[in-house]
Amino acid sequence: MNPPIRWSTFAAPSRFYQLAGALNPWFWAVAVALAIAGLYVGFLVAPTDATQGDAYRIIFIHVPAAWMSMVLYLAMAFWAAVGWMFNARMGSMLARALAPTGAMFTFLALWTGSFWGKPAWGTWWVWDARLTSELILLFLYLGFIALQSAIDDVVRGDKAGALLAIVGAVNVPIIYFSVRWWNTLHQGATISMTAAPKMAQTMLLAMLLMTFAFWAYAFAVVFTRAQALALERERDTDWVRALAAKG
């Protein structure tokens, strides 16, 4: 009989490093395969939208990027809290590793939204509830990164960042429900997508494929960054020395 897997052992940075190294090629393979499938369906199968023309094809990266920006923030706040409450080093490192990728997806959600807003609404930007709360999310990510890099003491930096991340998490439901709570410009565009049922199916498929591709991408990049952070923080330990000696 196999011994039971003790998940807490992966909390040790050395074990995490190994696990991430073993999983990452798979995450990359999944990300590339799903992105190719998603772009194929999105550009060669999904028909032109009756009301929006081909501008709607931005949705296949816009919505996944926006979803990832929120999911990664919650993951960041979760791991920062775990690192703080349980003194789990790897939790704090994961929180730091998540922040730049989350910030990048937030930027992409805003950028692609802007390039969709111009043809759909006639403007690159409006101070609408959805857009403004997403912009605040970008500032929360940048504030988290700046705060942690401004504090030299690693443990204090982790704690200060955790506090900011947890308090800022209140913004995520605000973003998500903003289109319901306020009468925003953002809502109309999303609703027209479900107008024709057959069209919505291929559109939905492409959007979901791209979402899972982005998800796998986020795992791969965040794990790689967490590996780098673990190497830097644990540079005086035997496992890093052994890795460095191997080259």
């Binding site: 081909d54 501008a55 990728t101 992409l108 390039f115």
Partner: protein, 56 residues
């Protein structure tokens, strides 16, 4: 096939600038970030190795 030709495809029904402007930046960011992150990890490993050589 929904596109009659390549130029039709790039034109995107008149929305080429917006569609490709959004996708190009997305692609650049999602190629650049992994490159920078892998470099970060490589440099961290090299730093650990050089520390190994200088320490007694």
């Amino acid at each position: 096939m929904i596109w009659a030709s390549w130029s039709d495809f790039w034109h995107m029904g008149g929305y080429g600038l917006y569609v490709w402007g959004a996708y190009a930046v997305c692609l650049a960011a999602m190629l650049g970030e992994p490159w920078l992150t892998r470099r970060h990890r490589r440099q961290a490993l090299q730093a650990a190795a050089s520390r190994e050589e200088t320490s007694p």
